[in-house]
């Protein structure tokens, strides 16, 4: 197995609102022998600024890539958005000489140079490709066999598919395979590969909520006891905004949404407290009861 050491790119959303993702990811990584080296001088991946100024977004991503190159480590991200922004910029700069020249001209102002020496991976890709599903399964101490999960993959971890390199982009099994490793049952549901509605820059307040509502309702009617996400923005939308969605549409769902690393951690024998499940907005009390009965 390859050397499991990575530069951890945290991004913005996780320290801002999704601390339980970081806590559970660090715990799980530690048990799996993944060494996470912090990036003390990193900045936003650039994605939030992309719609307003693509050049600055590219420069921000390039700066993070240069920092990881200096560390001599591949980047691991927990966020679909960061994975997408950093992967795309990395690949574009490696492939497009003109662009590389232009960006390096800009990076000269801060004494950096993009060389193209590292790769960027989402934690789901690290678990699937660098560790491997079979090996991952060997860490499962407590299979979650009585749990029914609706995986919500998100967009940017697999689209655009010419950059993100995820198998079968029409119907990707990246997350459902990872959920299956925990022993839980996976349900398919309508529109599961469509956008959750997370978009800070949207000028419309209602449409993002409609998109999130569709996913929650479809997952629920497919029989899911919980949803599982790979991205802090999706999680914020489906879990953090769930009470707002309930109020807006006068409906009640109460569908807990876990970070994948929390689900995996439970299957690996960690306790709900160790994985910060109490920080979820939609309290997973009923789910934990079901789990205890297994």
């Amino acid at each position: 197995m390859a050397d499991l050491q990575y530069a951890l790119f945290l991004g913005c959303m996780i320290p801002y609102r999704e601390g339980s993702y970081e806590i559970s990811a660090r715990k799980v990584a530690n048990l799996l022998g993944i060494k996470l080296v912090d990036m003390p001088d990193s900045n936003c991946c650039g994605l939030p600024l992309d719609p307003a100024n693509h050049e600055m977004a590219t420069a921000l991503a390039a700066r993070d890539l240069c920092l990881a190159e200096k560390m001599g480590l591949n980047i691991i991200t927990l966020c679909n958005g960061c994975a997408s922004a950093l992967t795309k910029t990395n690949k574009k700069l490696k492939e497009d000489r003109e662009l590389k020249k232009k960006v390096n001209e800009q990076l000269k102002a801060i004494g950096m140079e993009f060389q193209g020496k590292i790769e960027v991976k989402h934690i789901a890709q690290v678990l699937t490709n660098d560790i491997g599903l079979d090996k991952l399964k060997s860490y499962v101490m407590r299979p979650l066999t009585n749990i029914i999960v609706a995986p919500y993959l998100g967009c940017h971890v697999f689209r655009p598919s010419n950059y993100m390199d995820v198998k079968n982009p029409e119907s990707p099994s990246l997350l459902s395979d990872l959920v299956a490793v925990t022993g839980a049952q996976v349900v398919e549901y309508v529109d599961e590969f469509q956008c959750c509605g997370a978009s800070e820059g949207s000028i419309d307040n209602k449409i993002p909520l409609i998109l999130a509502r569709e996913k929650i309702r479809n997952a629920k009617s497919a029989g899911a006891q919980i949803m599982v996400t790979l991205c802090p923005a999706c999680h914020q939308t489906l879990d953090g905004n769930q009470p707002l969605i309930e109020r807006t549409f006068q409906e009640s769902y109460g569908l807990p949404v876990l970070h994948y690393t929390q689900l995996l951690g439970l299957a690996m024998g960690l306790s709900p407290d160790q994985l910060a499940l109490n920080e979820l907005r939609v309290k997973p009390a009923k789910f934990l009861e079901t789990l205890a009965k297994a």
Binding site: L10, G11, C12, M13, P15, Y16, R17, G19, E22, I23, R26, D38, M39, P40, D41, S42, N43, C44, P48, L49, D50, P51, A52, N53, H54, E55, M56, T58, A59, L60, R63, Q106, A109, I110, C155, H156, R159, P160, S161, P169, D191, Q194, C195, G197, A198, S199, E200, G201, S202, I203, D204, I207, P208, I210, L211
Partner: protein, 171 residues
């Protein structure tokens, strides 16, 4: 209703033949020329499903015709950048990137939704797009988490200068 319809049919757009060339020069805008208006982008778009005002193929058609109003109109900002459109486009049009290029042009023209000013401001002040509250930063050590990155803000200021970010912040 009838009045609205007649207004719609008599609306005259100004056509600017230079516009498409401008769009071609903005990174991400290049592929719009391959669009043949099949409408698959709109058929697959989750936003188009829930609002009548957002039609990606219409946005591209307006750009092709040289209708500069596409930049003044708020509809480009409805795109959530999920990339479903580009996955389905039979012509290889990077639809979401074309819309991003139009957004970038709109910003150059002085139209910047508030969220982006805030992101830009936060990034230059803290390195991150969201302003993480002090209480949450302090709580990290009690949770056993390492300190948040301390970005060299001078670096970001310099990058903002060479990429002309002031357009976003000043407008």
């Amino acid at each position: 209703m009838a009045e609205a319809q007649s207004r719609a049919t008599t609306h005259h757009y100004k056509i600017d033949p230079e516009f498409k060339h401008e769009l071609m020069r903005v990174p991400g805008g290049e592929t719009f020329k391959y669009c043949y208006q099949c409408g698959v982008c709109t058929a697959t778009c989750p936003i188009a499903r829930f609002t009548e005002v957002f039609r990606p193929n219409k946005i591209i058609h307006m750009a092709k015709l040289g209708i500069r109003e596409v930049l003044e109109d708020d509809t480009v900002w409805l795109c959530v950048v999920c990339y479903s459109c580009r996955e389905k486009c039979p012509q290889g049009v990077e639809v979401a990137d074309v819309i991003r290029a139009l957004k970038n042009m709109a910003v150059e023209n002085g139209c910047v939704p508030a969220a982006f000013k805030e992101f830009a401001d936060n990034i230059l002040k803290t390195g991150l797009a969201y302003n993480v509250p002090e209480s949450r930063i302090a709580r990290r050590s009690t949770l056993g988490l390492p300190q948040l990155p301390k970005t060299n803000l001078e670096d970001l200021k310099k990058l903002a200068e060479v990429t002309h970010l002031r357009k976003v912040i000043e407008e």
